[in-house]
Symmetry: C2
Subunit: 352 residues, 2 copies
DNA sequence: CTGTTAGCGCCTTCAG
DNA sequence: CTGAAGGCGCTAACAG
């Protein structure tokens, strides 16, 4: 087979290259490049017209790979999440996409299932694909090897001019666009405390995630400050999924809580389902609250009280920040996103 | 500034290139390439070792862009959806990602908001980024200009060796991995008919989508076959969102249906919410059914009866098919996915 | 089995 | 203002 000519079948179809445009316009490739790449190098008006016209006529579209190879800028961003099908990530990714798309960048998206090796592989793949920036939406995996290897990859990447941004709890030191996980959790717990609850159960996230620790600390702090202390029986581990939340609620029930706080909405939704299934009323018998305020929170079996995080906007803002960083325009002051409580129908005073 | 050398600061950091490896191993670049790219060209065992060892030591990782430029294969796939934050798409994308990742391909994901220009822009961007395949998960926009321009872009793309696959109703002729939208809808409608409903309302999808027409036809056919015919008052237009479903339900209520079928789960969930909000019981007063069986369908205010589509598997299967196509291994027989009814708690006999 | 050469498509000095 | 030349990192004939 011939060299990579893009020729297929008998047609000899080929995407027009800069050379074709140059030839058609009767100028050199350099000149064509200058007008088509928006270079600041001066080009006479007539020539520019001819080139533009030829490009238009041929339907020329610059090859991004070639351009990237030559300029060391691919206009591409890699996004790491734990699972795109999780609404939390999906909503953030959507925001990132909007920002990136509006400024002519494309997004690579990869789910790591919070598996150390997968996540490292994803990072390496992003680097190999020469992305301009890497956005770690996924919270760091709480594993020394992960942090060590990820740091090595990311440090190298940055030394080369790459931009790294984190959007959740992460041990890696990089610009971070985050909201307050701990404060947010304290918000819900305090809300429940104010309603009069004393036996407040907590469904934690997966133990191998940094964000799990931070959110849990919010719960512990709030409980301790009120002099209630942390009853180990009232804390169970979940996995951020609906199913996991349901199972966790089942275990938690043995400790007879009057309220349950889940580390995310998915688990809260699962918990509500389980409670309802075993004949408990929510919030009549037990209140339930979540964290994130994914779109479905408001449409769960019982509309969920939760900590609102503007996921979509967070993504958009994150995207804009990354692009600004890439353009060498760091924002004067780094934005702060505050989490706020949204009280819906899943929480009320404890049964008397 | 110097040429694109990847040099930053004083360090002169640079990602090791094949040349560096070759030099370190004392061989020519071609030899290094041969062992590192898994070429079939013979290389002596000792040399191979030396190259491998040098690559390992330097932490060499081939530059995908360069490789892609040289081979005309980027190991990259472009995925077009209407909105990644919509669970329907998110779940499919997740499946595609799994398949792609497991075979060393990366995914570009873009949401078009079913906007003609955005969608065309996305397609062009994919081509410019030299993706190997384009997967149209999004149903076609029902607009002649869209179809014409999209076809032009895709035809060119394919003439160059690109693979195109559709995963929903699409006017563009390409391999399609789909399920039966019409049959699926007939399934739910028939289910309701069997329960004794006669005034069955329908919340259609956005009018500018092909899939909307197809699903709606399923409703119309089922209604007509039973001699009920289609009462225009019983059909309203939605937009595939929860909010839209709620609003549509409100309008639909004027026609006093005993059951409502929504063209997707999101709208069904919104409809249920609205019904409950205005004091109707579901399914006591009115039954509601959806389509897709997104994860949340089972956790809605009233667990939703719907048409199950194995979204995640669909994505995985689709990913595998595309990769096979790319490898020149078209499957002997094209898989068929059947939609099936899942009866949960949102449907029952009409009130007497 | 190994090296040399050319080229993928584009950008960017450097002359003119 | 324009063009020629070299290079980004890698692969693929083509000799030897």
């Amino acid at each position: 087979m011939s060299h990579a000519t893009g020729v297929v079948g008998e047609e000899g179809v080929k995407i027009p290259s800069l050379r074709d445009v140059a030839r058609a316009a009767g100028v050199s490739v350099s000149t064509a490049s200058r007008v088509l790449s928006g270079s600041s190098h001066p080009v006479s008006e007539p020539t520019r017209r001819r080139v533009l016209e030829a490009a238009e006529r041929l339907g020329f579209e610059p090859n991004r790979l070639a351009r990237a190879l030559a300029t060391a800028r691919s206009r591409t961003i890699g996004v790491v999440v734990h699972d795109v099908s999780d609404p939390y990530y999906a909503e953030i990714v959507r925001g990132l996409e909007d920002a990136a798309g509006s400024r002519d960048h494309a997004l690579f998206v990869s789910s790591s299932d919070r598996d150390v090796d997968k996540e490292l592989a994803v990072l390496r793949a992003f680097v190999a694909n020469q992305v301009d920036a890497i956005v770690l939406v996924a919270s760091a995996i709480d594993d020394p090897r992960y942090l060590a290897e990820a740091s090595a990859i990311l440090d190298r990447f940055r030394a080369l001019g790459g931009v790294v941004m984190t959007m959740s709890e992460h041990g890696y030191a990089a610009p971070r666009l985050g909201y307050e996980n701990r404060a947010g959790t304290r918000l819900v717990v305090t809300h429940l405390l104010d309603l009069g609850h004393r036996r407040i159960g907590y469904i934690a996230g997966p133990p191998d995630l940094l964000v799990t620790r931070v959110r849990q600390r919010g719960y512990e702090e709030a409980m301790t400050e009120l002099g209630l202390g942390v009853d180990p029986e009232l804390v169970v581990t979940g996995d951020f999924t609906i199913e996991g939340g349901a199972r966790a609620a089942e275990r938690l029930l043995r400790a007879e809580p009057t309220a349950i706080v889940a580390a995310n909405d998915m688990m809260a939704i699962g918990a509500i389902r389980h409670l309802l299934d075993v004949g408990k009323r929510v919030p009549g018998d037990v209140s339930v609250a979540g964290f994130d305020d994914i779109e479905f929170a408001a449409y769960a079996a019982v509309p969920l009280t939760t900590v609102h995080v503007p996921l979509g906007e967070l993504g958009q803002l994150g995207g804009r920040l990354v692009l600004d960083l890439l353009d060498g325009n760091p924002p004067e002051e780094w934005p702060r996103i505050d989490a706020r409580l949204v009280v819906r129908e899943s929480t009320s005073a404890p049964p008397t």
